[in-house]
């Protein structure tokens, strides 16, 4: 009890921060991020929006989980009626169920654990019930071995049924820096939108690139406070954009950066906006040329690398790009 009491002030101050941020962000959010329905149907867990998007890797992840869940619950109910479940097993199963129920009930508004970690907890729960029930049945053991095998294949063949945001930032930065150095200079600006700037800044070689961050208008939830410090020692230019009523106020224009430098890279998920209301390609300065350098496909869609270069520079250098 004393230990709990000692922690209370810390939790109150932290929760206050969280709630304050949640409500400020909520001004712009059209929907609820942590929707209990999304959690329950599993779409959020596997990042699947339509049936056509389901891949083999997704199926390998989903089907065994569903099979485990169905068999487990059926056997558990059977055993419950036969009064075969011990107290310690009840404690384990109940703890998992209660924790999950609270997550579903309050997770949509208050910060709980991310749904995909909850999926992991659920799989553990179903595993507990299944193994404890079916380990004496040879047929069940066979099914269990197949499920384990499929999961292992999913883990190493496809590596993962897309629960996380695996994106090739290492390769993206390497490609961007290759382009900048190919234009005969060591330094060059990289414009990254929304949440991209943090992983990009991690992989940037020190002092070879200047990073500009511009807000992703489509996803205002992803605005973070980077005023604290330079990220990983890089110069970091962020427009004064934080929880303002009008997200367009006070932003550094992408076009002004395009005018300032004769070459550079834009990293974006949304080619139609790039932080502006008008598509970038339509607003390109006359003395510059913008084109796609490379498109990276990820499990969250695609990330496009645009390069821009002044027409004068194109004539001066014979770049491999």
């Amino acid at each position: 009890m004393i230990s709990f009491a000692l922690l209370i002030p810390f939790f109150i101050s932290q929760l206050h921060n969280e709630i304050a941020r949640e409500y400020l962000v909520a001004k712009w959010l059209p929907g609820i991020v942590y929707s209990p329905i999304k959690v329950l149907i599993g779409a959020y867990l596997f990042k699947i929006k339509t049936v056509r998007e389901i891949s083999v890797a997704d199926l390998i992840g989903i089907i065994p989980t569903a099979v485990i869940a169905l068999i487990a619950v059926r056997f558990f109910i059977k055993r419950m009626f036969r009064k075969e479940i011990g107290d310690s097993e009840k404690i384990v199963v109940l703890s998992f169920i209660l924790a999950f129920c609270v997550h579903v009930a309050i997770g949509w508004k208050f910060p709980t654990i991310h749904p995909r970690y909850m999926a992991h907890f659920l799989i553990l729960l179903f595993g507990i019930i299944l193994i404890n029930t079916a380990h004496k049945n040879k047929l069940m053991i066979g099914a269990f071995v197949i499920i384990i095998g499929l999961n292992a294949v999913a883990a190493y063949k496809y590596f993962d049924p897309s629960p996380a945001y695996f994106e090739p930032w290492r390769d993206i930065v390497a490609e961007a820096e290759r382009f900048i150095s190919s234009t005969g200079t060591k330094e060059g600006p990289i414009l990254a939108d929304g949440e991209s700037c943090l992983p990009i800044s991690f992989y940037l070689k020190k002092k070879t690139s200047i990073l500009y961050y511009f807000p992703n208008l489509n996803n205002p939830e992803m605005q973070f406070d980077y005023e604290l410090t330079k990220i990983f020692g890089h110069e970091f230019f962020s427009p004064p954009f934080r929880y303002s009523d009008d997200p367009r106020l006070g932003r550094t224009s992408v076009i002004s950066i395009l005018n300032k430098y004769d070459r550079g890279i834009i990293v974006t998920r949304d080619p139609t906006r790039v932080g502006e209301d008008t598509p970038l390609l339509e607003r390109c300065p006359e003395d510059k040329e913008i084109s796609v350098l490379k498109v990276f496909k990820t499990n969250q869609g695609k990330i496009i690398l645009y390069k821009w270069i002044s027409l004068a520079k194109i004539n001066a250098y014979s770049s491999p790009y």
Partner: protein, 211 residues
């Protein structure tokens, strides 16, 4: 060390190594993603004070995981790269497989525990969580540990186990806010099992000083 405890230590060591292997493979295969880069950003702060300040403003999560990561990186003067950022979560993930084995051994049998170990050691979800420079594998480890000591306490009560329950639940709360919900769930589960009055009083009222 007695013969039995030596055997146990060897068994747990073996299980740990077996769980570690799939987690070690491809640990640097993926680039850091946004959340992991955020962890790296926190750890790269020049001292603990500025890290805690940054945590409060940017992450808004309890600090234990970040303190451990920063301590690990600073103590051994390690570079902040994918491998070392993901090293501790990998170890926590492998340890949680061993705890999973112990938990099943307690609630069922050694045979069932072996199956359970295989399930969790090769679970793609669990492998991914263990290869992420985030606090979740440590949270999972502590959640399982708290469950394991609760089950052990249920079977054979002792002050050490009572303290272990408190400590593991408190640590879970200093990893993530969800620890509060987890602690409440474990306590409610014990309550719902409806033990004898004496047992209930022992669990809910300062366990270390109860018989």
């Amino acid at each position: 060390m007695t013969g039995v405890s030596k055997k146990k230590a060897i068994l747990f060591g073996l299980l740990f190594v077996m769980a570690l292997m799939p987690r070690l493979l491809g640990i640097t295969f993926h680039s850091l993603w946004f959340d992991e880069a955020s962890t790296a950003n926190m750890i790269s702060q020049k001292n603990v004070e500025s890290m805690l300040k940054a945590l409060s403003r940017v992450e808004g999560t309890p600090p234990l995981f970040y303190l451990l990561e920063k301590g690990f990186i600073d103590l051994f003067h390690l570079p902040i790269d994918e491998f070392f950022l993901r090293f501790l979560p990998m170890v926590f993930g492998a340890l949680s497989c061993v705890i999973y084995f112990l938990l099943f051994k307690e609630i069922s049998s050694a045979v069932v525990a072996r199956y359970a170990f295989v399930l969790v050691a090769l679970s793609n979800f669990h492998i991914n969580l263990s290869q992420e420079a985030r606090s979740y594998s440590l949270f999972g480890l502590l959640a399982l540990l708290s469950l394991c000591v609760t089950v052990l306490w249920w079977k054979r009560r002792s002050r050490i186990l009572s303290l272990a329950i408190i400590l593991s639940l408190v640590l879970t709360m200093v990893i993530h806010y969800y620890g509060l919900i987890w602690a409440a769930a474990v306590l409610c589960a014990v309550l719902l099992i409806k033990p004898k009055n004496r047992q209930m009083r022992d669990f809910f009222f300062w366990p270390p000083f109860q018989r």
